[in-house]
Homo-oligomer: 323 residues x 2
């Protein structure tokens, strides 16, 4: 960890330490290939399947690093976050493995299935109204009452160091990659990828893939400063959140380019992956493939690592099924 103009930035040693710390609690996920996808893209694609990860997504890496890095005294008071997605599941899982409480502040309007999933991993839900003001108020109260340690879904050096373990495994599993591509929302996975690759494989290009309808990271990247959108709408619901100072640090310094795809391109790529690779993955994870198929001139002839970030999907509401 080093101080960069007041920002606590994780270093590669933090990734190494994180990996050691979380190994007993995560899967070393497999890498799949598909001749069909290679022919279609003209590239050689390697899919790192974090959809097979514990709690169904890469987020468990950062969550476990945060939880298992706490001192016994801090840990006793538990951890807390506000999220209705994979970070809440992952933090609940990690806290459960350490035997400490995990407090999750969620809008009372969140889907029952998401609440059930968090409770299924042992998370304790406190409901708030569906507004930022209410969420912040309720969260502040929970934090004050419990003394729980706040773990941000992505703008946290412990979380980014944890996500960086994914690319470290990837580099061990596949030799000679020319590029790695991952979806970008708040930028946690991309930041971890930047942190690891800039240290152990600085020649590997790093692409971020984003929905056109939530392209704030793309516009930030082109503008040279953070642009945050208010409540963008996309099927890739894991990618609606904006960059923050720490993830912007990595994105602005190490990302090769950010490329975008339309809603229909994302849905088509998602369905194609299910149909041909026989894996269940979230809409968010389909954005990289959509981008690869849309920009063959960028990827043709390259060995490209694709990070499949998660597999937590509502099987009753698949985006290609109409109403």
């Amino acid at each position: 960890m080093k101080d960069v103009s007041g920002l606590m930035v994780p270093e590669f040693q933090d990734v190494v330490d994180a990996h050691e710390r979380i190994k007993p609690h995560i899967h070393r996920t497999p890498v799949l290939t598909s001749e069909y996808m290679n022919q279609l893209s003209g590239a050689e694609l390697f899919f790192k399947c974090e959809n097979f990860q514990k709690a169904g997504a890469f987020k468990v890496r950062g969550a476990c690093n945060a939880v298992f890095g706490l001192s016994d005294e801090d840990a006793r008071r538990g951890v807390a976050t506000h999220s209705s997605g994979n970070h809440a599941l992952s933090l609940s899982y990690a806290a459960g493995r350490r035997g400490i409480p995990c407090h999750v502040v969620m809008p009372r309007t969140a889907p029952q299935a998401k609440k059930d999933a968090v409770r299924g991993y042992g998370g304790i839900i406190t409901e708030c109204e569906p507004s930022t003001t209410s969420r912040e108020e309720v969260f502040a109260r929970v934090e004050a009452e419990t003394g729980a340690e706040f773990v941000h879904p992505y703008n946290d050096p412990r979380v980014i160091a944890g996500q960086g373990t994914c690319s470290r495994e990837f580099m061990e599993q596949v030799q000679g990659l020319d590029a790695v591509i991952a979806p970008i929302g708040g930028g946690g996975m991309i930041s971890g990828t930047c942190l690891t690759l800039s240290n152990i494989a600085p020649h590997v290009e790093i692409y971020a893939a984003e929905p056109e309808q939530a392209d704030d990271a793309y516009r930030s990247f082109k503008a040279g400063h953070i642009i945050a959108d208010d409540a963008p709408n996309t099927v890739a619901d894991g990618l609606k959140v904006p960059l923050k100072d720490l993830t912007w640090h990595f994105v602005s310094n190490h990302v090769t380019d950010i490329l975008t795809a339309s809603e229909q391109e994302i849905i088509d790529a998602m369905k194609l992956t299910w149909a041909r690779m026989k894996i269940v993955m979230e809409p968010s994870c389909a954005v990289p493939l959509a981008v690869i198929l849309k920009n063959p001139e960028v990827f043709r002839g390259k060995r490209v690592g694709v990070i499949v970030t998660g597999g937590n999907v509502d099987l009753d509401k698949l985006p290609w099924m109409k109403g």
Copy 2:
């Protein structure tokens, strides 16, 4: 191959030869595990993922063995079959790899998606009316005109020896299995499993799993002779076909027991596997898990190998989606 009262029965050496012959054309599919499924079943489950196999199903093993076992002269005339399912895809794939024609007789009423899939693998479709009489007539004409070699979907020693390679890999990948379970329709996979295990791991129990609504193999097994149903109806559409003399030979001699599950149990097990293991598998492959969850007293505490037979699903018509 040995003659058993006029029946040409494959022997274990045929499995070994088949494995050598088909290795360049198939995947050595991975074995997945799930802590969740273990807790739910009380058993230790190992899933052999033939849904990741070439052409999306185990059937490519038998099809490749039949196609690549032909002499150059016989091969030149091509192969032929009648099937609208995975066997047609697999035989088309295998023939394409050898560069020979594959003739598939299919009812003109078969779904367009199935016709497209067969053509996508290079198969040449000849349409018949949706009746057994028409199918047999049209098939006889195709056979006579082309001289193509008929490859039955399951009642063929070459096909059974090919399917036997799956369990051979499985035994190398997982040590100390107590039982193996696979779905049963015509009995090709189960026969290959019997052939291999009775030779290299005779202590391993062999269970077959069948839909209640197409339980002809179950009733045959209990009666001691083949009972064939006319057009049973089940969501597990790969399992509607009856046993034949060669598969009955293996089933009657080597299967430990046949267990059945209801339509709802099959759909629930399928959805559960998609949701928790993040893999796309056919309804047919969910029958073993349904049976395991329904009969905990049979499987509890055992190390059980589950053969996930295929992943070719119509993603627009999932059985848990109404309407």
